[in-house]
Amino acid sequence: MVTERRTLLADSSNQMRLLIIEDDRESADYLVKAFREVGHVAELASDGEEGLSLADGGDYDVLVIDRMLPKRDGLSVIGSLRDKGNRTPALILSALGQVDDRIKGLRAGGDDYLPKPYAFAELLARVEVLSRRHGGPAEDTVYRVGDLELDRLSHRVARGADELTLQPREFRLLEYLMKHAGQVVTRTMLLENVWDYHFDPQTNVIDVHISRLRSKIDKGFERPLLHTIRGAGYMIRDGVR
């Protein structure tokens, strides 16, 4: 895992300022350490009140908020922030991992929801995607990675001079990957954002879709663009940037 994190660090060009609101000392310390290891700045609040005042005052890229907190629960922290007009992206961590809880969390103003226990790679990938969104990436009509080009309006995909024919779902998969080019995208994120399912398949169903996509966009080309990040997920990027 350690090497994986270093890889991730190398790819995440900009450093993030994170606020972690978590009352369990051990997992909080683990998170702070892990985020710092990959080069981000992470601060810690150990209850809802403290978290709210820190989040309100500080300039953070992403908030990582535990659902159940002493003094003020996570959803209410987010609610208060949103009421004050603070739109800092918030990711909710919760031991309540069921679909309904997720919906409740998102309704309360959360931007993403990750059930415990989670893999750090998953959390990191999601936080980075949230942060990019916060930074206000241009909702370009054309995505480009290397010589791969995807036109979101005309649904045209081309690599170099070759026009590629993709199935609608393959198009959406590639679109999501390219929107987050240079960022790790996990299998669960793909299942949620491309297919809109929130369950955990017992099989490698996503890998199969990826390998099909890969055979279309990378096969026969010298430089692969779609990379598998071991222990985390996938990333599309131009290998020699």
Binding site: P115, F199, D200, P201
Partner: protein, 495 residues
């Protein structure tokens, strides 16, 4: 609380007391009215007889003088049960009559008086009471005529004692009835309380006694029993889950621990440590998946997922799942097909998608092991449903359709299937049939699908696809019961 205190606190007893008070008051006032009227009637009667007699005797005096009057009075006074008579001189000396003594001053005041008196011929010393009228005759003599009030007193006494008795009887009967009713209610409530306390103490199999009368308490007990039934089922489910967790999660946990221990003891270089740690993470991911699936099942079974029910088309779910799994099936050398016609449904879309996904995953996992020309038993039904597809045993079909007011979501594979004897068993948690022990998976797929069906009031049935397995989720459509308006072309299920 004392037994009486408990009795007193019952609603039945308190109501009885209120009614008792009301009835006693009613009886007392009725009898009081009766007594008062009787008394007045008797008094009226006395005054009229006495008045009449005074008129008569005054007449005698006027016609025959004092002698005639005395004679008439002596004559009348001798009759048994006679009135009281007295004639006195203007000075108050008795001339004739049957009165021995009077209260002083009675004879001097004319008009009606109630007085104590004694008869002339009486030996006893007791005074009687009488109502008397005194008139002055023309020569200054005074005439007193009266009537003993004993009769009035007796009648009044009878009425009064009747009143006493009736009030007493009302009180006794009312109190007795109240105690009887209250005790009866209390007895049954106590029985219920006892049972509920036993249940609260942990004996969930206890049930309240239900009588045969079908009264309100019986109905209450019946409903409470139904509730207990549900609670017990839920608790059993919970217990089963925890038992299963204990049993089936301990095995991988032990494996995990052993691996870590072994790595610690034997690994000598970084790559060995790394390999051990990676296996540990994989194993714990598997554990988390199993745990999530278990929680999901428990949640579906307890009915908690009833929020988030929406109207949606099962055909879209079938197509979505087909789209998701089609490449995986192909990679496994199988062909995944879909046959979906519009089938609107009210339910938890996420859960139903997952249930169908589980069935498809199952079919992909087990559907590929081609049966080794397994001859089917003699108990094959005549209707060879899948006869024409029997040869094409590499296909898996996802179907979605409407069947009356139910929605059918089915997955039909042509793999090795599940022997009939094992089918029911296969839905139970953690059951992985012997033939499939080597394949990965938590063994919870079918259980979850079944729990989801149950949550929606439907069921999961497994049958023979000849060869292969036909797994059917049959769910009542219940369209229009949710927030969304029912689509007009949908047949309403009025349930």
């Amino acid at each position: 609380m004392t037994a009486f205190g408990k009795l007193f606190r019952t609603t039945a007893f308190r109501l009885t007391l209120v009614y008792l008070l009301l009835f006693a008051l009613f009886a007392a006032s009725l009898l009081g009215y009766f007594a008062w009227n009787t008394r007045r009637l008797i008094t009226d009667q006395i005054t009229s007889t006495v008045g009449e007699e005074i008129g008569l005797l005054s007449d005698v005096f006027n016609r025959r003088g004092l002698r005639g009057l005395v004679f008439a009075i002596e004559n009348r006074a001798l009759r048994p049960g006679s009135n009281l008579y007295l004639v006195t001189t203007p000075a108050g000396l008795a001339v004739a009559g049957n009165v021995g003594s009077l209260q002083p001053g009675v004879i001097t005041s004319t008009g009606w008086t109630e007085t104590a008196y004694r008869r002339l011929d009486e030996q006893d010393k007791a005074d009687h009471r009488a109502l008397v009228r005194v008139t002055e005759l023309s020569n200054g003599f005074r005439l007193l005529i009266g009537r003993d009030l004993e009769e009035r007193r007796r009648i009044f006494g009878v009425v009064a004692s009747a009143a006493q008795w009736s009030v007493l009887i009302v009180v006794i009967l009312g109190l007795g009835g109240g105690i009887f009713v209250a005790r009866r209610v209390l007895h049954r409530i106590d029985a219920m309380t006892g049972t509920t306390q036993r249940i609260m103490a942990g004996d969930l199999s206890g049930r309240l006694p239900v009588g045969r009368s079908g009264d309100e308490l019986d109905r209450l007990a019946g409903n409470l029993n139904a509730m207990l039934e549900r609670i017990e089922a839920l608790m059993m489910g919970l217990k089963e889950v925890s038992d299963n967790i204990a049993h089936d999660l301990k095995t991988p946990l032990t494996r995990l621990r052993n691996r870590a221990e072994e790595a610690l003891a034997k690994s000598s270089n970084e790559s060995e440590y790394r390999a051990a740690l990676e296996r540990t993470i994989e194993e714990s991911d598997g554990l988390i998946r199993t745990f999530n699936a278990l929680l999901m099942i428990a949640r579906a079974e307890s009915g908690q997922a009833r929020d988030n029910m929406v109207d949606f088309d099962a055909a879209e779910v079938a197509q979505g799942i087909h789209e998701l799994y089609e490449p995986l099936a192909e990679d496994n050398g199988l062909m995944l097909n879909v046959q979906a016609e519009p089938a609107p449904l009210h339910g938890n879309r996420e859960l139903i998608s997952q249930a169908l996904a589980n069935l498809v995953e199952n079919a992909i996992k087990y559907g590929q092991s081609k049966p080794v020309a397994q001859p089917l038993g003699a108990d094959v039904p005549d209707v060879a449903v899948a006869a024409n597809t029997a040869t094409a045993d590499k296909t898996i079909l996802i179907e979605a359709r409407r069947d009356g007011d139910r929605v059918i979501l089915g997955v039909i594979d042509h793999g090795s299937g599940i022997p009939e004897a094992d089918r029911k068993h296969a839905i139970e948690r953690f059951v992985r049939l012997e033939a499939s022990r080597t394949l990965p998976g938590s063994g919870l797929g079918l259980s979850l699908a079944s729990a989801v069906a149950t949550l929606h009031g439907g069921d999961l049935t497994l049958s023979d696809a000849q060869p292969g397995l036909r797994a059917i989720l049959s769910i009542p459509a219940r369209i229009g019961e949710g927030l969304a308006a029912p689509t007009p072309d949908v047949q309403q299920n009025g349930a």
